[in-house]
Each structure stands twice: as C-alpha cells, then as structure tokens.
Symmetry: C2
Subunit: 154 residues, 2 copies
Amino acid sequence: MNPPAHDSQPPDAPQGLLGELHDRGLRMTPQRRLVVDAVASLGHATPEEVLTKVREVSPGVNLSTVYRNLELLGELGLLRHSHLGHGPTTWHVPSHSGHIHLLCRACGRVTEADVALADDLVGRLRERTGFLSDMEHFAVQGTCADCAASAEQR
Amino acid sequence: MNPPAHDSQPPDAPQGLLGELHDRGLRMTPQRRLVVDAVASLGHATPEEVLTKVREVSPGVNLSTVYRNLELLGELGLLRHSHLGHGPTTWHVPSHSGHIHLLCRACGRVTEADVALADDLVGRLRERTGFLSDMEHFAVQGTCADCAASAEQR
DNA sequence: CTTACTGCAAATATTTTGCATTTGG
DNA sequence: CCAAATGCAAAATATTTGCAGTAAG
C-alpha cells in the first residue's frame, strides 16, 4: 500500500536516506554521505566536480566510488541526473528539480525554464501514446535569444 | 519578414550536396558519399553502424573518417544527429526528421512521436525566453505505456 | 563476523587529434 | 599542382569492472 513514489518526493528527507539504505541492506558510509552533500551543495555537478568537492573534505576518495554512489543513489531516487549535451552527466538532488534545461547549440550555455511550460506536451504524449515524460532528464537543444539575434544580422 | 531559413530544408536535394561542398571549397570524396548514403539508408545510425554499412562497399574506410564526415555534414546541415540516451550519438538525414524521440528508462526502447505535439512548448519557450527549440535533438526520457502498466501492478 | 563498500588499477566505450600520404578538382 | 581529405596510431574523455583489503552494522 505504499505510494509508487516515483514522481514526487518529500522536498527534504534527511532520515529517508538512511531508511532507504537500511531497507535494502545497504550502508551509510562517509563517502556516500559526502557524495550526497556535494551534489546538494553544488546544485548541478558532474562526477568529476563531485569528486573535487568531496576531496576538499576527504582527499582519499576515489572517482569510481563517486560513480558507484551516484549510480546507487540514483536508483534509490535520492539523486537524479540529466544529460545536458556532449559533456558528462550532471547530478542534482530531486528538490533542485522543476526545470527544463535549455542548451544553446551556438554558445553552449545551459539555461533553465519552468518544467510547467511542458505540461501541454507531457499531457499530449500521455494521451496519445501512454508515455510518461520526465522533461528534466534531457536538455532541449536550440538557439538562445542572444545567439539567435546575432545570427539574424548575418 | 523573410523566414530565417534555418528550420526547413527542401525535403530532398541531391545536387545541393555538391553545391554546399563546392561553396566552401570542400570536396566530394567516395567516403563522404558513402557516409551520406549509409545514414540515408539506415535511418538512424551510430558512427559504428555507419562504418559497418560503409565497409560493405569499401572495406578500407576508417572510423575517424566516418566521424569527421558526420561532423562536417552536420555543420553543413546535410545530416543531423540526436542524443538518445547513454549510448553513442545517432545520425539521420533531415528528411527523416519530424519526430521527437521517447526513451523509456525501464526497457530502453526508443519510440517516436510527432514533433508537432511540442508546438505549445516550443511556442512558450520562444515567447518567454526567446529560445528557439529543436525538439528532435535530444530524446525525452520517461516510462513507456507497457512499462508503466507493469510498474503499476507492483 | 559478515558482506557491503572502498581504493586502485586496468579495461571499456566513445570521440578526437597529429601526422604522413593520397587525391579531388 | 596543392589544399582537402584519408588512414593509422595514439590520445583524450567518460565510465565501468575485477579484485583484494577495509569497515559498517
């Protein structure tokens, strides 16, 4: 009778972390906590950036540990990741969600837009194909206002 | 009031290929033509798949040549690519466009939906942020109808 | 104690680059 | 001719995996 728990999390659940881990026979290690904290404080972060942050506190931590923890925490729904382009995956906490990423193909900058702007698309996709969309996972590519302006006067 | 001429190509332009190349002092090599042909016949193809197809005709062709040609033909607008998930980039001819890719996070399958379903989103993004979206470049992640159904009965 | 977890090194996957040689126009 | 393009090998980038030792509960 537990809710499917896959579209809205409590905005903040510090003890949910241990609960989720315990339920699966997993452990709370210093490295695991540091990875969560790093992602939470960085907002969006690549594995490499997470490692750098983690090593400020604990220099011995290995990159593969970061990858393994990001992966695992992602499976547990405690972290999420997005693909913002050619570069590496970026990770964030679910509470940092709520926006689509807009990647400009010209200048490469990533901006954010309210995910509610996609409600129409998400609704149509669900109606027509039954597909339940997560608009936050992939960026939308295009041309930002600035780059469109400079392209126009060419 | 002229359309910026960067969103719709003539559906098929075989001599446009040579024209585009000549205009930039570029050449039509056998490899280059084979890459275009391979992408056209494969629909969606990764660089590796393109290489395989190309080597059916010309076994000596190198993977880096494929990459270089995909990149260049992409810049010329003669090919397009999409990012469909963790795997490699996939390439297609512009005439094969017109759809959003829907990537199921559960089963990994990619389905297609009419890009017009995103007109509302594209319009809102343009109005609010000036961002000109290309919905075809990145997939939309989510859960397909089949996987949503099996998840529900868990 | 048990086994999940870690660090380390090596492997894998994808893409890019330097350079000597070939070739299209 | 000669700059564009290719093939080859090596590097760069992003991620995964095997394994022996460490540590959480």
